[in-house]
């Protein structure tokens, strides 16, 4: 099965689409699964690249989520990209060209800071608040950087890998207490 046929079966278009002309220089791209283009911008190139995509009529930012690679700092990444613990994954969609692009930004190890996409796509406001709430990733000039899902006085960010699942031991055998 030639690569083009394999790529198509993974849901993307036949070939990998090129970067938009206005993209900042030096953005590393790779053939990422099930999307037409995978980019690995650094935190500096991040905002410029997303604006370039927006001008290249990628009308909608579909999804933004954080991933915590605590145990896999040495995961397979295209050369020239240093894998850090936190990673922000942004999914852009162009309705007119029917293409999807996925950006993976390395957001740093203990104090992840990325600038917010609110001024480009207002729809990302809640997603960024969720990424902050569950992972502790800070977003520069975000209008309302507060928790969204957890109660206000909750300490810690639950979805981090070093946060316990919080399982309560379940008594199956003859349980001493009433329950």
């Amino acid at each position: 099965m030639d690569a083009r046929r394999a790529r198509h079966r993974k849901g993307g278009n036949a070939e990998v689409i090129p970067l938009p002309p206005a993209a900042p220089p030096g953005v590393v791209t790779a053939d990422v699964m099930a999307s037409d283009l995978g980019c690995f911008p650094t935190t500096e190139q991040y905002f410029g690249l997303v604006r370039a995509f927006k001008d290249d009529n990628f009308e909608m930012c579909v999804d933004l989520c954080a991933v915590d690679y605590l145990e896999h700092l040495d995961r397979p990444l295209p050369d020239g990209v240093a894998g850090t613990r936190f990673e922000i994954v942004v999914n852009l969609l162009s309705l007119s060209k029917k293409q999807r692009v996925r950006l993976r930004v390395q957001a740093g190890n203990d104090e992840p800071l990325v600038d917010s996409l609110f001024s480009l796509y207002p729809g990302t406001e809640a997603m960024e608040r969720e990424a902050f709430d569950l992972y502790g990733v800070l977003f520069a000039n975000h209008p309302d950087m507060t928790r969204i899902l957890m109660p206000e006085d909750w300490e810690g960010h639950p979805l981090r890998k070093d946060y316990a699942v919080g399982k309560v031991p379940v008594q199956f055998k003859e349980s001493p207490g009433p329950r």
Partner: protein, 450 residues
């Protein structure tokens, strides 16, 4: 000794401290900065920049003229535990801020603890009105990572169940929307039709809700024999009943006054906010993943994408009503074109062997044991697969580190993003319009809070 079950506090503010969410809630105007105030008022970025037309956002309004009130978690018409903090000027809504998280179940954390085989049960409880859509999004992501082919019959069974689930979800929407507007008889009709579909689900998958029927590699069980006439009965009854609902609701003056022209939405605003599904299609943008990025076998099935013009509540109602008819049309075509063959991929690494063979062959026993204790291993990689759920684009972003458990599972919930249109749609309308806005945006809190 005070009665242990009665919660007394010397001062009321101790009690109120427990339920107040501080910074997440709506603050007085003096305490909120311009950007957040613009967001709460519902100003949305247009291509020409953040349009905060000055007369629309009145900063100098003093706090004692308006009243901040909770349309809180335990409210009959917020469709679940959504808490809306509204700033009211008499009857009219000036600012809204949805406070969510009251149904946060930590499903993405539990998803990382369960194996791929068990993941379906966790994901299916997210959008509890269309469980098949959740499982389908999750299983397609896993299959893309595994790069396995699923048999033809499984594809068509999945399409049949997904469309029946879309009809059931839209029927519940019609029911609760009718009840929100006072047409309580619509509630009874909606749930009566839905029982037909749930009976069929119970017959095929064994459960009415949260089916866990779509599994990585195909479908849990084959369709029960005699399913053709069940589905035929469902299609005919529901098709006929949609014209009854049309008659019941569309001509009704109260329904028309509360739905026509209320909460209009522009295509530009919808795209900027990332809305998908009936909300986006009501503004005239013809974007339906089943048509534009076909998955399963939607390209071999003939159906129409329903698109609105004004983007107001009435359009969203008309879209959902006609989508029921389209889905029934798809179900009829699935009925005719349902291929034979096995319903689950025969790859022993993914599908457990049939029960009978376990006693005969040792190898089948090993496969069975390994699959159900440790689960199958998925190669390293990450994938994002999206399907069209009744509420919009439901995406599943899966990162696997080669183990039997997903390293990271993130579900892009359409309701979570569509909920951001609520401040924009409610701005300036009365509280009764606010009720219809929540109903037509149709957020499902299980999916919003995950």
């Amino acid at each position: 000794m005070s009665d242990p079950t009665v919660r007394v506090a010397e001062r009321l503010d101790i009690l109120s401290a427990e339920t107040s969410e501080g910074a997440q809630g709506l603050q007085e105007r003096s305490k909120t900065d311009k950007d957040e105030l613009g967001r709460e008022v519902g100003a949305v970025l247009r291509l020409s920049g953040l349009t905060l037309d000055p007369n629309d956002v009145d900063y100098e309004r003093r706090d004692d003229e308006t009243m901040i009130i909770n349309m809180g978690p335990a409210h009959p018409s917020t469709h679940g535990v959504l808490r809306l903090m509204l700033e009211l000027d008499g009857e009219f809504v000036l600012r809204t801020k949805p406070v969510i998280g009251y149904l946060h179940t930590g499903m993405e954390k539990t998803g990382e603890v369960l194996t791929y085989v068990q993941g379906g049960t966790n994901v299916t409880r997210m959008d509890y009105l269309s469980p098949v859509a959740n499982e389908l999004g999750y299983c397609m992501a896993v299959e893309k990572l595994l790069a396995i082919e699923i048999p033809e019959r499984a594809i068509w069974i999945r399409m049949l169940m997904a469309e029946l689930n879309r009809v059931a979800s839209h029927l519940v929407w019609l029911a609760t929307n009718g009840m929100d507007l006072g047409a309580t008889s619509m509630m009874i009709y909606g749930f009566r039709e839905r029982e037909l579909i749930l009976a069929f689900f119970e017959k095929t998958a064994g459960l009415r809700l949260n089916l866990n029927y779509v599994r990585p590699g195909g479908v849990a069980a084959d369709l029960p024999d005699g399913w053709e006439d069940d589905v035929l009965v469902i299609c005919d009854t529901i098709e006929a009943r949609t014209y009854e609902y049309d008659e019941l609701l569309t001509g009704q003056p109260i329904f028309r006054n509360r739905m026509i022209g209320v909460a209009p939405l522009l295509a530009e605003e919808a795209l900027a906010l990332g809305l998908t599904g009936p909300l986006l299609r009501s503004t005239g943008v013809a974007w339906d993943l089943r048509r534009t990025m076909p998955y399963l076998a939607y390209d071999q099935v003939d159906f129409d994408v329903i698109v609105g013009t004004y983007g107001d509540n009435f359009d969203r109602y008309a879209i959902r009503l006609n989508e029921i008819r389209e889905s029934v049309r798809i179900v009829r075509q699935c009925l005719e074109k349902m291929p034979g063959g096995d319903y689950r991929s025969q790859d022993p690494k993914v599908t457990p062997p049939p029960r009978a063979r376990i006693d005969e062959s040792m190898e089948a026993l090993i496969h069975h044991f390994k699959l159900f204790t440790e689960g199958f291993h998925v190669p390293v990689g990450e994938v994002y697969s999206a399907i069209e759920s009744p509420r919009g684009e439901l995406g599943c972003y899966l990162v696997s580190d080669g183990g039997a458990k997903p390293y990271r599972i993130h579900v892009r919930a359409p309701s979570f993003v569509n909920l951001q249109a609520v401040p924009l749609l409610m701005r300036g309308g009365s509280v009764s319009d606010a009720i219809t806005v929540i109903s037509t945006v149709d957020p499902i809190m299980g999916e919003v809070d995950r």
